[in-house]
C-alpha cells in the first residue's frame, strides 16, 4: 500500500469499503456484475460480510429490514443497468416509510457516460424522486466524502434512502484516503426545524382546555427514539394513545392507555375516539389517507397539535392548529418543563375529566369483543386471525415477546397481524406501510435476523406475496439463518378479493392464485416445514418452528374467503366503519 504521508493511497474500490468500515458497517446485501466488479474484487481485504441475495430487490429490502430492526443504516449494493433498476422497488419502499438505507450502484466508466453503453442506465435520474438524495461519483477521490455524506443524509432529520452511483473508472482510479477529512459538515437541524416557544405555549393552552384528548402515535416516535418520552407524556397527562400501522410497538399494546391501531382497519372504538376527540396530539405521523378516511369529516371537533420533523408535512392533509416542527424527543423534552411551569397538573379537574373521557372510550367498545373472531367458539375452521393470535400467544408464553420480530408482507394477513399480534416493544413489527410492497416480508426478515440474531424472527406472508421473493429462501440457507416463515395460504390475493367482494360484485378477476406446495419448496432448499390445517396444530407447530435449530416454513391453509374487519370504505368517514359480521362470516363451505 503506497502512502502519502500518513494517509494511504487506495483504489476507489478500496476507499468504498474502507469508508463503509469507518461508518461502522459490518454487513452489506448485494449482487455483483460488471460495473461493480472492481469493488467486489477488493472486498476480501475488508472486515465486511457480504450477503449474496437472489435478486437486487431482495438486497434493498434486506438493507431496509436491517435498518428497521436495528435503527442503523442498511447498505445494499448492485451493478449498473438491470442491477440498479432491480433496486428501485426496494428504494421506493424505504422512501415511503422513511427508512435510512444507502444503496451503492456500479456505473459504466465516466468516459462513456451518456452513450447508452452496455448496461448503462441513468439510475440517479430514475431514483431522483424516490431517494432523499443521490450522488454520482466519477473520480476515486469523490467516493469517501459522498459515502460519508450519504450516511449522514440517510440517518438525519427525517430518514430516507440515499443512492451513490459509482463509475467503474472511479472504482479503479486511486486517491489518498483520509476518513476524517471526508467527514461532511456536522449535521445541524435546519433553522426551520425549530419549535417556537410561543407555539409550545399555544399547544399547552390547547391541552389545558381539552377534556377529550387523543395522542396519535406514529412511526416518528421510533425514528426519534422517543418511546420513553411518549409513554411518560401519556401517563403523566393520562391521554389515550391511538397508533398508526407503522407506529405499532412504539407504545406498549397492553398499556391501559393504549387504544390500538387507528384507520382503515383499526378497531371501531379507536376511530370513534378520534372522531369524538376535542384535541389530537399527532406525534410523528403524517395523516395518511389510510388513517384519516374522508378528510372533510375527519375529527371535526378536534383541535390539532402536530409535532413533526418534516415541515412539508404540516397542513398537507389536515389543517392543524399548532405545528411544532422538530425532532419529537427534543420537542417533548423542551415542552415538559414548560407544561410544568404552567401548573398544568395543579388543576384537579384536568385529571377528573380525562378519567371520564377514558370511561367514555371504554364504553365505545360495545360488543366489539363479542364479535371478535378470537372469542368465538371453535367451528372447525382455521382463520388467519387465529394463526396470528396463536403465534403471539406462543411467543408470550415462552417469554420471548420482547425478542420476537415480525416481518409481514402486504395484504389481509398484514392487517390481521396488526390487529392480533400485540406489539409491546419498539422495532418488533417490520412492515411496508407507505408503498405496500408485496414481496417485502421474506427479505426484510432476513435483514432483521442479521441485525438482531438474538431475536426470533417471523416472516408472515400471504401465498401471493411470498411467491414474489421466495427465491430468497436460498439466501436463508446460504447464510444458515433461523427464520420462521408462516405462509397464510388462502388461495387468493386476499386483499384484492375482499375489495372485489365489497366493491366489484364478487367478480374475482385474477385474484385466485395457484401456489406450489410450500413445504416441498422449503424442502427443495433443505428447509424443514409443515402443513397446518387445523387450529389445534397451530401452537405446537409454531413452538416447533421457534425452537428448531434451522429455518422453518409453515403453510397455514386458512379460510379462503375471510375478510378483514372493521373496514372503512374508500371515501367514507372514519366513524362509518363496516363492522365484523356476526356471527361468523358465511363462506361457500357453510352453504
Amino acid at each position: 500500500m503506497a502512502t502519502n504521508n500518513t494517509h494511504p493511497i487506495l483504489t476507489g474500490a478500496e476507499i468504498l469499503w474502507a469508508t463503509l468500515v469507518g461508518e461502522g458497517v459490518t454487513t452489506v446485501f448485494g449482487y455483483p456484475g460488471g460495473a461493480i466488479l472492481p469493488a467486489y474484487d477488493a472486498l476480501r481485504k475488508f472486515p465486511i460480510h457480504h450477503v449474496l441475495t437472489r435478486h437486487e430487490q431482495g438486497a434493498a429490502h434486506m438493507a431496509d429490514g436491517y435498518a428497521r430492526a436495528s435503527g442503523k443504516v442498511g447498505v445494499a449494493i448492485a451493478t449498473s443497468g438491470p442491477g440498479a433498476t432491480n433496486l428501485v422497488t426496494g428504494i421506493a419502499t424505504a422512501m415511503l416509510d422513511s427508512i435510512p438505507i444507502v444503496c451503492i450502484s456500479g456505473q459504466v466508466s465516466s468516459k462513456v457516460l451518456g452513450s447508452d453503453a452496455f448496461q448503462e442506465i441513468d439510475i440517479t435520474g430514475i431514483t431522483l424522486p424516490i431517494t432523499k438524495h443521490n450522488f454520482v461519483a466519477t473520480r476515486a477521490e469523490e467516493i469517501a466524502p459522498m459515502i460519508r455524506e450519504a450516511f449522514q443524509i440517510a440517518a438525519s432529520g427525517r430518514p430516507g434512502p440515499v443512492l451513490v452511483d459509482i463509475t467503474k473508472d472511479a472504482q479503479q482510479g486511486t486517491a489518498t484516503f483520509n476518513f476524517d477529512e471526508a467527514a461532511p459538515a456536522s449535521y445541524r437541524p435546519h433553522p426551520m426545524l425549530r419549535a417556537e416557544s410561543t407555539e409550545m405555549a399555544r399547544a399547552i393552552e390547547l391541552m389545558r382546555a381539552s377534556t377529550k384528548p387523543v395522542i396519535l402515535a406514529g412511526h416518528g416516535i421510533i425514528h426519534s427514539g422517543a418511546e420513553r418520552e411518549v409513554l411518560a407524556f401519556a401517563e403523566r397527562y393520562q391521554i389515550p394513545v391511538a397508533t398508526t400501522l407503522l407506529g405499532l410497538g412504539a407504545f406498549p399494546a397492553s398499556h391501559p392507555l393504549a387504544l390500538g391501531m387507528m384507520g382503515m382497519h383499526g378497531e371501531s372504538w379507536v376511530n370513534h375516539a378520534i372522531q369524538q376527540a376535542d384535541l389530537l396530539l399527532a406525534f410523528g405521523m403524517r395523516f395518511d389517507d389510510r388513517v384519516t378516511g374522508n378528510l372533510a369529516s375527519y375529527a371535526p371537533n378536534a383541535k390539532k397539535i402536530h409535532i413533526e420533523i418534516d415541515p412539508s408535512e404540516i397542513n398537507k392533509n389536515v389543517k392543524v392548529d399548532v405545528a411544532l416542527i422538530g425532532d419529537l424527543k427534543e420537542v417533548l423534552n423542551t415542552m415538559e418543563p414548560l407544561i410544568h411551569d404552567r401548573n398544568y397538573l395543579a388543576d384537579a379537574s384536568t385529571t377528573k375529566t380525562t378519567r371520564a373521557w377514558l370511561r367514555e372510550i371504554r364504553s365505545l367498545k360495545g360488543d366489539a369483543a363479542v364479535r371478535d373472531i378470537i372469542n368465538l367458539p371453535d367451528n372447525g375452521h382455521l382463520y388467519a386471525a387465529h394463526v396470528i393470535n396463536d403465534i403471539w400467544q406462543e411467543a408470550k408464553a415462552a417469554g420471548r415477546l420482547d425478542k420476537t420480530i415480525i416481518a409481514t408482507d402486504v395484504g389481509q394477513h398484514q392487517m390481521w397481524e396488526a390487529q392480533y399480534f400485540k406489539h409491546e416493544d419498539t422495532r418488533t413489527l417490520i412492515t411496508s406501510g407507505g408503498l405496500g410492497t408485496m414481496g417485502f416480508a421474506l427479505p426484510a426478515a432476513i435483514g432483521a435476523k442479521i441485525a438482531r440474531p438474538d431475536c426470533d424472527v417471523w416472516c408472515i406472508a400471504g401465498d401471493g406475496g411470498f411467491q414474489m421473493t421466495a427465491s430468497e429462501l436460498s439466501t436463508i440457507q446460504q447464510e444458515c439463518l433461523h427464520i420462521n416463515v408462516a405462509v397464510i395460504n388462502n388461495g387468493f390475493l386476499g386483499m384484492v378479493r375482499q375489495w372485489q367482494e365489497a366493491f366489484y360484485d364478487k367478480n374475482y378477476a385474477c385474484s385466485p392464485i395457484l401456489s406450489p406446495d410450500f413445504v416441498k419448496l422449503a424442502d427443495a432448499h433443505g428447509i424443514p416445514g409443515a402443513h397446518v390445517t387445523e387450529r389445534k396444530d397451530v401452537t405446537p407447530t409454531v413452538a416447533k418452528a421457534r425452537t428448531s435449530p434451522t429455518a422453518f416454513v409453515i403453510n397455514f391453509s386458512v379460510e379462503k374467503e375471510d375478510g378483514v374487519y372493521p373496514m372503512i370504505a374508500p371515501g367514507a368517514a372514519l366513524h362509518e366503519m363496516v363492522r365484523r359480521p356476526n356471527p361468523l362470516i358465511e363462506t361457500a363451505e357453510d352453504e
Binding site: 432523499k132 438524495h133 443524509i153 433553522p191 425549530r194 410561543t198 415541515p311 405545528a323
Partner: protein
Amino acid sequence: MLHTFVALVDDKPGTLTRVASLFRRLNVNIVSLTVGESERDGISRMTIVCDAPEHAADRIRASLYKLETTRDVDELGRSEAVIRELCLIKVAAGPNSPHGQQSRSQIFELANVFRARVVDLAPESIMLEMTGAASKIEGLLQVLRESKFEVLEVSRTGRMAMRRGHHTGRVLKALGTKPDEEAPVAFPDRPVTDDLPNQFAEDEA
C-alpha cells in the same frame, strides 16, 4: 395566483433538475425560472415564479427546503421586493416594413419613453433591450404591436427578485453575507428569531 420564491442552492450538477422535478411532482406550473451566480462561491440563486393556489405556498417552500441542495428559501411579495426582468425585442424596421422609412425614428421614440435601449441596428431590423417590471415590458410590447410594428422576436429572462432594504435571508445572514468570507458549511446555532413555523398559522389568520 403567482408566487415568487428565491432559493439559494448549491451550484452542483443536477440541482436544477431536483428543483424542477419537485414542481413537476407537486403539479405546479413554473411561470419563469432564472438561475445565476450569487454573492458567494458555490451557491446559485434562483428566482422561481409559479402559478399555484394561495395555500400551496407553504408546502412549496417547505418542499424546496427538503432538497439537500437547498440552503435557503424566501418567498417574496410584490411590495417588499424589487422584481425585474430583462427582455430583448427585435422589430422589423426596413424600408419594406409597415412604417417604411419612418420606422426607425418612431421606434427610437418609443424606446425612449419606455427607457429601452437600442442594442443593434441592422438594415431590416432594430433590437431593443429593456429591463423592468414585467408589466413595463408587456407595455412596450403592446404599444409596438398596437402601432402596427412587426415584432420579429422576443426573448425574456423571466423575473429576478431581491428584497428591499437590509433584509437578507435568515440563513444567509447567519452564514455571513460577505462574499469574501469563507462560507461556513454548516448551519450555525439556532438563531433567536424565527419567522417560519409561525407563518403557517399566521398566513391563515
